[in-house]
């Protein structure tokens, strides 16, 4: 809980915002993006940690970016094959995980200096915090914005099920589904987060 409050990549550190704002129009896209980042983070952390002793600091950044890029490409090929409609809806933001500040940041700050085991744990910690934050934003935006709740729609190609709720609430603020709404949602959620954190810290 404490690390969720302190290190949460989206709310505390404000990193990786491009995807947080762009793909959180539905709950499903949000958590799938979160899991994708977790996937890339995990494997890149492992790989970087394995080769950390053989890479000098001056060429760390380009090498790590290439490693991350490789795993992003693998992920996008997998998604394109197994869940094509999800691949289409995520669009360019899937490839943009390559330059997601979180992934590169963890590789530089943690995985390049720690063992494989610790790097795996770190990847999970950060990745799950990120996914939870994404799910929160996606939940708010989809539920209050388009008045639906999509648990499984695009990924039905893989799981074979669909789980979509429609007209859950008696009203909807369509503005939340727009880009402006994305900014406002994340602003208000971050403010609430800051408030909770300050209360937690003053105790």
């Amino acid at each position: 809980m404490k690390s969720f409050l302190k290190d949460n990549p989206i709310f505390a550190l404000s990193l990786g915002l491009c995807s947080a704002l762009a793909v959180t129009t539905t709950f499903e896209k949000a958590y799938m993006m979160g899991l994708s980042v977790l996937f890339v983070l995990l494997f890149s952390n492992i790989f970087v940690s394995l080769i950390r002793k053989h890479v000098s600091t001056s060429i760390q950044i380009p090498v790590f970016i290439l490693i991350i890029g490789t795993f992003v490409t693998i992920l996008s090929l997998l998604l394109e094959r197994f869940m094509p409609s999800l691949y289409d809806s995520l669009g360019v933001y899937l490839s943009l995980i390559t330059v997601n500040c979180i992934v590169l940041g963890r590789a530089l700050a943690f995985a390049s200096k720690n063992s494989v085991g610790k790097s795996i744990a770190d990847a999970f910690k950060i990745g799950i915090g990120y996914t939870i934050a994404m799910m929160l934003i996606g939940l708010v935006r989809e539920l209050f914005g388009s008045n639906t709740l999509t648990f499984m729609n695009d990924i039905s190609a893989l799981t074979g099920y669909r789980l979509v709720f429609k007209n859950v609430l008696p009203f909807s603020l369509s503005i939340l589904a727009t880009p402006a709404g994305a900014f406002i949602t994340i602003g208000i959620l971050t403010a609430i987060f800051n408030f909770i954190r300050s209360k937690y810290e003053s105790n």
Partner: protein, 186 residues
């Protein structure tokens, strides 16, 4: 789709920061001075334009014919990283004065969503060469305008903002209002 419409929409109605959320990191993180904003926008424009041209040619004349389109992410980021390095070396040696104002921003641009994003959007949308140029330039112009406005607003935010909102939240809300306003334009 005629080029003027493409240009105007790239700057206004499909502004890459306010509608596509690319380039948010420098947007939120730039210091509050307008001078830094101008420097950053200039650096982004130069890197993006040059990288777009190269990646476009690379995509259409190398990747597509050899059926290796899936390599685009890695190749594009490679091109961008090299471009940044080359520019850094050139500016450092030949334009020392320019280096002092622009130099610090260049390394940050490698991981900027905007640059990679624009190069990928160019090839995903299947533009012709002229369309690609117009789109890239208009997106960079839109980015610069929004960045300058935003930094001038942030310079003038007061100290009395509610505590939880200071820093990022108020910046997001300002960006949201700007997105709302820009969304009403052509």
């Amino acid at each position: 789709m005629n080029l003027i419409n493409l240009f105007v929409s790239g700057v206004l109605s499909e502004n890459i920061v306010l509608t596509k959320f690319l380039g948010i990191c420098p947007f939120m993180g730039t210091s509050n001075k307008t001078k830094d904003a101008i420097g950053m926008s200039l650096a982004v424009t130069i890197v993006t334009t040059l990288s777009s041209i190269i990646t476009y040619l690379l995509y259409n004349y190398v990747l597509v014919p050899t059926n290796s389109v899936y390599l685009k992410t890695i190749m594009f980021i490679f091109v961008i990283a090299c471009m940044v390095q080359i520019l850094l070396i050139i500016i450092k040696n030949k334009f020392k004065k320019l280096y002092q104002s622009l130099g610090i921003y260049l390394p940050l641009i490698t991981t900027n969503c905007a640059v990679l994003g624009i190069t990928l959007l160019n090839v995903n949308s299947g533009y012709s060469f002229m369309q690609m140029l117009v789109y890239t330039l208009s997106s960079c112009l839109g980015f610069s305008i929004v960045l300058c406005i935003f930094s001038s607003i942030r310079e003038n935010l007061s100290e009395d903002i509610p505590k939880s909102f200071k820093g990022y939240p108020i910046a997001f809300i300002t960006a949201g209002i700007m997105a709302l306003i820009f969304g009403r334009l052509i």
